[in-house]
Amino acid sequence: MDLSYGEAAEAFRGEVRAFLSLHWPPPSDTRGADLKAFIRTFRALATEQGYLYRAIPKCYGGSEQPVDVVKAQVIREEFQRARAPMEVGGNGMNMTVPTLLEKGTDEQKELFIRGTVEGDYIWGQGYSEPGSGSDLASVRTKGELSADGGKWIINGQKIWTSQGMQATHMFMLVRTEPDAPKHDGITYLLIDLDQPGVTRRPIRQMTGEEGDHTFCEFFFDNAETPVSWQVGERGQGWYVSRTTLKHERAAIGGADGLGRQFAKLVDLAKEVGRIDEPMIRDRLAQIEGFVLSHRYSSYRIFSNAIAGEDAGPVQLMMKLLLTEIGHDMALLAQELIGEHGFVEPAGAGGRGNRGPRGPEKWLDQIMGSLGNSIAGGASNIQRNIIGERGLGLPRDLAMSGER
């Protein structure tokens, strides 16, 4: 085994560093619109160099690079080290673009990919409904064709949409064939959210936050979208929604973030003067056993990806492992902050105007770790996935129709 990336990768690292030292950071007095413009230009330059949007064709604003997980990792490491912005995040890059690249029409790719890559279009996810959570294929939001057959008319409700207040567009699953079997009656639609038939409302979270950064619910009352914005065949939307980003997906990034958070937990124990207590030291080291297992497993998955091999069931475990470690860290943090936890941190939830924050800032992690066990596939669903796909246990009869 060898954890070095090799000479070619280190030479490449040199190139990335040289690029970054020329183009980042912005002059220290850059603010507001100027800063936005600087970042936009920086991303364009980095894309030109082949550092960003590597999976996206040049004609849609990407850099169209061959798959190279080591180069992608080196780029991530160096950009993070320089605190330089990488690709715009969010559902657009993670969900819309890969789906369109695989299943979209030329017109749809032309219309949406560049705008998403450049950050002009922000996408909300229109999957969950009040009655459709883990059982997503039960969606009831209705889509009906207009009399002339040119538009879909949408009625219903979507919920838990992150970035919903900023979103310009939504990709959504709507039921268009009410008489078809559950999975075969759904169509995948793109929709412009700026229209009279769409109402959005932020949902106040347990952190107390409400507004721009929380999730939202959406109401559709005869909202419209052109039939040409339908992705894939009518009735095949369920299968369209299964498209995921595979390109250079293996990354060590998650492990680095977890490692940094664990280091902060150790700092917290020092800050509150409890690092010498044997019980605290033991619990920290116990948690670290899992943190390191996660780190080295991500090395393993990354190494398999370089070799083009399947890492096996461990890949299915990484999300649940991260969530469980987050819970353990939250429990210890709660012990350590003691009465500091009586006072809510400034900018609760991790956003907004913060100012100085003491140990009470861990309330963000203590609550946020619960969010991780729900978002992106709830923990009990992860346990099903590990049991069924990883261990080959038979599917629950109630779910055996799912694919």
């Binding site: 085994m1 044997p278 080291a285 056993g289 497993s297 492992l321 009869l397």
Partner: protein, 331 residues
């Protein structure tokens, strides 16, 4: 960057797994467990015939990672024999420069001379009655090699039936001193022992998880395999979640030892602590997942349960190694 097993390493594991399937089936384990011996010559000779004895010799072209992969399969099979002691004794004798000890090198490598590991300060030694040599590793006092003729061995009724311990006492300063307490090799050998025990634990934990999953697919209640029920499915998923990511922790500790990385010492402590906890949790969960059959002698899960109890306490408990790891981190 390479951090997964090579085809060659997987082949070593397959060879060891095949040899133990032939020489150490469950019937042999049952018979051995009810017998008086603390050593099984048949499976030992078969393992040694694979050329495993010299894996940690400086010129073997192999390293702790390879040894760890073998120890994992030995743990999986709940095989008897002082493999960890044998490998470390070869490593120590080959590097120790003691002429008298060096005389044993060839027969140790071939497995004819059997050596077991003594944790400095502990009275309990596995396979002591069969051992020709005792390698005493003590982080403070150093490393000594003692002949069986200098050891006082008292048989006890051992909990771990696959690697029975005896009570052993040595006269002060018995045998030859190979390394002093301050010699870096002493810590290296103690660390390697920890990683090898972690690997034994990994193999056993994986084995009982596999047995539980197989049973859940085959056992039917309410007209269906019990593995379809979410309660049990989630329990099995958590066993797998405990074991599979921990595999890389063992690999890393072995890799760090082989590469002489600065954190090798701490990685060994973390691996021993974590995997021994995992092993105890997993064997308990496996028996619970099986129901009544898991609680029987005949089914045999208790062999790994007992082995987990030994691995956990031998060479220092998880809490003791976590305390070391905390100090090593400068907390």
């Amino acid at each position: 960057m390479h951090f997964h097993l090579t085809g060659e390493q997987a082949a070593i594991q397959d060879a060891v797994r095949g040899t133990l399937a032939d020489t150490w089936p469950m019937e042999r384990l049952h018979a051995f467990a009810d017998g008086e011996d603390d050593f099984d010559k048949g499976s030992w000779d078969a393992l040694m015939a694979l050329g495993l004895g010299g894996m940690l010799a400086p010129d073997s072209g192999m390293g702790l990672l390879d040894a760890v992969l073998v120890a994992e399969v030995v743990g999986e099979a709940a095989a008897p024999g002082p493999l960890i002691g044998q490998l470390l004794t070869v490593a120590a004798v080959a590097r120790g420069g003691n002429a008298a000890a060096g005389e044993y090198l060839d027969t140790l490598t071939s497995g004819e001379t059997v050596a077991t590991l003594v944790h400095g300060g502990s009275a309990f030694v596995p396979c002591a009655r069969a051992a020709d040599l005792f390698l005493i590793v003590d982080r403070d006092a150093g490393v000594r090699l003692v002949a069986a003729s200098d050891a006082e061995v008292e048989a006890v009724r051992a909990t771990d039936r696959s690697r029975p311990v005896s009570k052993v006492a040595f006269p002060p300063d018995a045998g030859a001193r190979l390394f002093s307490g301050t010699d870096a090799m002493t810590a290296r050998l103690a660390d390697a022992a920890l990683v090898l025990v972690a690997a034994d634990a990994l193999g056993g934990a994986q084995k009982v998880t596999d047995l539980s999953v197989a049973y859940a697919k085959e056992r039917e209640q309410f007209g269906q395999p019990i593995g379809r029920f979410q309660g049990l499915k989630h329990q099995l998923a958590h066993m797998a979640l405990d074991v599979e990511p921990a595999r890389a922790l063992v690999w890393y500790a072995a890799y760090a030892w082989d590469a002489g990385l600065p954190d090798a010492l701490r990685a060994a402590a973390m691996a021993k602590a974590h995997l021994c906890d995992v092993y105890v949790r997993t064997t308990r969960a496996a028996i619970a997942a099986h129901g009544g059959i898991g609680y029987t002698w005949e089914y045999g899960l208790h062999y790994w349960f007992r082995r987990a109890a030994f691995d956990r306490a031998w060479l220092g408990s998880p809490a003791a190694h976590r305390a070391r790891a905390a100090a090593l981190a400068g907390w």
